[in-house]
């Protein structure tokens, strides 16, 4: 009688329980792997943003208030030799949408000269940069937007702004960005916007050239932190006080405002681990109780304690493996082929499965299996053969 045979028979002797446990284990597991995928995507995105070393400078009162264009020159003046900062890119919210549709795109007008430098993650080729520099109507958009509206490089498109004076502008698609961090962004040239605004609002030249935010590409994390303090100090006690934040801190404000779905997923992942542990623990307890006599028989016919311990523990691990595969594999396959798009606005464009999440989920399941099996296995070792044989289940 091999150990493998015993294990197999144990799982099959009560197939109903094995199935019920596996399903009760698999469903929360499915949630877990999806939640961890989202959380790990966020961590990845945070790291990618960190690598970009971009500092956001916006109005202290609120990002809605516009800062004068001159902020760029004054910030550049802090480091004329460009030892700490690579470039400064002013941006203004356009909030464009495709005429007669509902969704406002995250569309911003950016300083044309510095955009390719500051947004190196847009990954523009020399040809694309040339196109961006050549055509005043050039725009650069993320792949998620391109997919949603079926736009491709070279297309001519029209957006209408949702902020006064509600300009309708035509654009030429110079590039579809493939970086995940830029999936839902749309950038175009700010000189085009400023001129269009001046035409629409004659006499408001200053207002037309103002920006909501200035992105500063820094040379190192230390430079980013020192500039953060210096910039805010530079504009302190002026009519346009600033607040500087790194890209992740800036983004966190919006993640919270969109209801903090990552927070929901994290909380869910914790609840789910709790539920899985209970389900597994419960099954192992029940299974052990029903088989006390049998385990005693094993011991009576000469099975070593170590082997009995192993048999009980291995059953728990096997069950956990079965349940987790049942939950993780279908969800992973589904999300692999059909990533969920449109999670509202926020940094994540799509819920995709991550290999890290799959491995992490399976590891978590094994740990729970181990924990659930330990106590009954210990009990099995401690079992006093004579008593147990006499006990009536």
């Amino acid at each position: 009688m091999t150990t493998r045979y015993v294990l197999w028979q144990n799982l099959l002797r009560n197939p109903l329980r094995t199935i019920l446990t596996a399903v009760a284990f698999a469903l929360p597991m499915a949630i877990f792997v999806a939640a961890i995928s989202l959380v790990s995507a966020l961590i990845e995105m945070g790291k990618a943003n960190e690598r970009q070393l971009r500092l956001a400078v916006h109005h202290k009162t609120t990002i809605v208030n516009l800062l004068p264009e001159a902020v760029r020159r004054r910030v550049e003046g802090l480091d004329p030799q460009h030892q700490r900062l690579t470039a400064v890119c002013g941006m203004r919210w356009f909030g464009g949408k495709v005429p007669d549709t509902q969704n406002t795109l995250t569309s911003l007008a950016a300083d044309p000269d510095t955009f390719p430098l500051v947004y190196s993650d847009a990954d523009m080729t020399p040809d694309e940069t040339a196109a961006w520099n050549r055509d005043r109507r050039a725009c650069v958009l993320g792949f998620a937007i391109a997919e949603r509206y079926r736009w491709k490089s070279g297309d001519r498109i029209v957006l209408v702004s949702t902020v006064p004076p509600y300009l309708q502008l035509e654009f030429y698609v110079a590039k579809v960005m493939t970086a995940k961090t830029q999936a839902n962004y749309f950038y175009f040239r700010r000189d085009y916007l400023t001129e269009s605004l001046k035409e629409a609002l004659p006499g408001l030249a200053d207002a037309a050239s103002r920006c909501n935010i200035f992105w500063i590409k820094c040379n190192s994390a230390a430079d980013l932190h020192s500039l953060q303090g210096e910039i805010d100090a530079l504009f302190a006690n002026t009519p346009d006080e600033t607040k500087s934040e790194d890209e992740n801190a800036f983004g966190a404000n919006f993640t919270q405002a969109a209801g903090d779905i990552p927070g929901l997923m994290r909380a869910m992942a914790m609840v789910v681990v709790f539920v899985i542990a209970l389900v597994a623990g419960n099954t192992m307890m029940m299974s052990f109780r029903e088989r006390t006599r049998e385990l005693a028989v094993f011991k009576a016919i000469g099975f070593q304690s170590r082997r009995v311990f192993f048999i009980v523990l291995a059953e728990s691990l096997l069950l956990a493996l079965l349940g987790s595969l049942l939950g993780v594999v279908p969800v992973s396959a589904l999300l692999w082929f059909f990533p969920v798009r449109g999670l509202g606005f926020g940094p994540i464009s799509a819920l995709e499965i991550s290999p890290f999440a799959v491995i992490g989920s399976l590891a978590m399941a094994m740990m729970i299996g181990l924990a659930a099996g330990l106590w009954p296995a210990y009990q099995a070792v401690r079992l006093r053969t004579v008593d147990a044989l006499r006990r009536v289940a």
Binding site: R17, L20, V160, A257, E290
Partner: protein
């Protein structure tokens, strides 16, 4: 007529296998806890938006704007509205038309200790606003007209820790100190997440020459759609949206959030059904002889079936009660506030999540259903125990 099994039999059975019962109860408690939180949140949202549900209040914004935040209505355009025939009048004969300006201020959230900032709506109003927005009630003092003062909605005051006597830095440059002189309630509606000040003062502080919107109250009995069409027409050319429609459209993000949340709770509910089934099957298997005994002394299969169903419902109710308690403790000690952007306002709607008796009753009902579903097949198996064979079992 056979006698029903006494309830105490079912109740006490649960304590024969304490660990298994406890583990199952905890599974149900986890699901019930999450469910009650979701319902609390959904309820807060529904309550808030239902309050802003007066179809005779119209919000008028510029064509092309998607909300008051990105709308600019010139004073000239605003004045054209007074020709509308269906606007209500107050006792003094004044038309109930309110010019309003919407700006934002960035304030630290209490719930994450100020790590992130929310964009809070600041609304410049005249005293007409209190007549047009009928559910807005100042609690105490109101802002003066000659001094920089504001009043703060209760929800905003709570979530962004604003107290009477505080000074808020408003104005385009954030350099005008406005003193908080009072709070206001809006029956829990979305306006309670805002800060209100005197329109001319705020327009000056923000260098504005235009209003953001006009709010109108229509005479009861008139057709709001008629006025909406009139405002759209060539003479005025603005966009009018009835208040309920406006605020419902702002809840788009929140609905996405709730859909995800409900899907997750649903999946966990199914897992709980399987978990209960597992426990009950084991309970039936362990009690085969006992069931046979009950049958022998005259209890029918139906009574046995019912007995196990009741047992599962007891189990589920214990879990449900524990879950509700857990949720209440969470709301009490960890936090019960949540705020989210409106879909287009770019300002935050603040909620207070509360457990109402309805939610608790609903959660207990839901877990009872989960318990029954889980116990159905085990109970059927129990009812079909072959008496003679079972009595012979070890």
């Amino acid at each position: 007529m056979t006698m029903a099994l006494p309830l105490s039999y079912n109740w006490r059975n649960l304590f024969v296998r304490k660990t298994t019962t406890l583990l199952t109860v905890l599974v149900i408690a986890a699901v019930a806890g999450v469910l009650t939180w979701m319902w609390g949140f959904a309820g807060a949202l529904r309550r808030s938006l239902a309050v802003a549900g007066d179809p005779h209040t119209l919000i008028i914004i510029k064509n092309g704007a998607t909300s008051e935040s990105n709308s600019a209505v010139s004073i000239e355009d605003y004045n054209k509205l007074s020709q509308l025939s269906d606007i209500a009048h107050d006792a003094a004969g004044e038309i109930l038309q309110s010019p309003e300006m919407m700006v934002q201020v960035s304030l630290p959230r209490v719930r994450d200790q100020g790590r992130t900032f929310a964009n809070v709506a600041v609304r410049g109003v005249t005293f007409a606003a209190f007549k047009v927005h009928r559910n807005v009630r100042p609690l105490g003092a109101v802002f003066g007209t000659g001094v920089p003062e504001v009043i703060v909605g209760q929800a905003a005051a709570q979530q962004f820790d604003i107290k009477i006597g505080d000074t808020l830095s408003l104005g385009y440059g954030g350099d005008r100190g406005y003193k908080v002189v009072g709070l206001f309630s809006a029956d829990g509606g979305p306006l309670e997440s805002e800060i209100w000040g005197y329109l001319p003062a705020l327009m000056n502080s923000y260098n504005r020459t235009m209003y953001s919107s006009a709010n109108l109250l229509l005479t009861p009995g008139t057709d709001p759609q008629h006025t909406v069409e009139q405002i759209k027409g060539p003479a005025i050319q603005l966009t009018a949206i009835p208040e309920p429609e406006y605020w419902q459209s702002q809840a788009a993000f929140i609905r996405v959030y709730l859909r995800i949340a409900y899907a997750l709770v649903g999946i966990m509910g199914v897992a709980a059904i399987f978990s209960i089934a597992n426990t009950m099957f084991s309970s039936v298997a362990g009690r085969t002889r006992e069931i046979a005994m009950l049958r022998t002394i005259g209890f029918g299969g139906r009574q046995i079936l019912l007995g196990f169903l009741i047992e599962a419902v007891f189990l589920a109710l214990m879990g449900g009660a524990l879950g509700c308690l857990g949720c209440a403790a969470w709301l009490r000690f960890v936090g019960s506030t949540k705020d989210m952007f409106g879909a287009t306002t770019f300002t935050t709607l603040a909620f207070q999540i509360r457990l109402t008796p309805m939610i608790i009753a609903g959660a207990l009902l839901a877990v009872s259903a989960v318990g029954m579903l889980g116990a159905l097949f085990p109970a059927r198996r129990a009812a079909r125990v072959q008496v003679v064979a079972a009595l012979r079992e070890p």
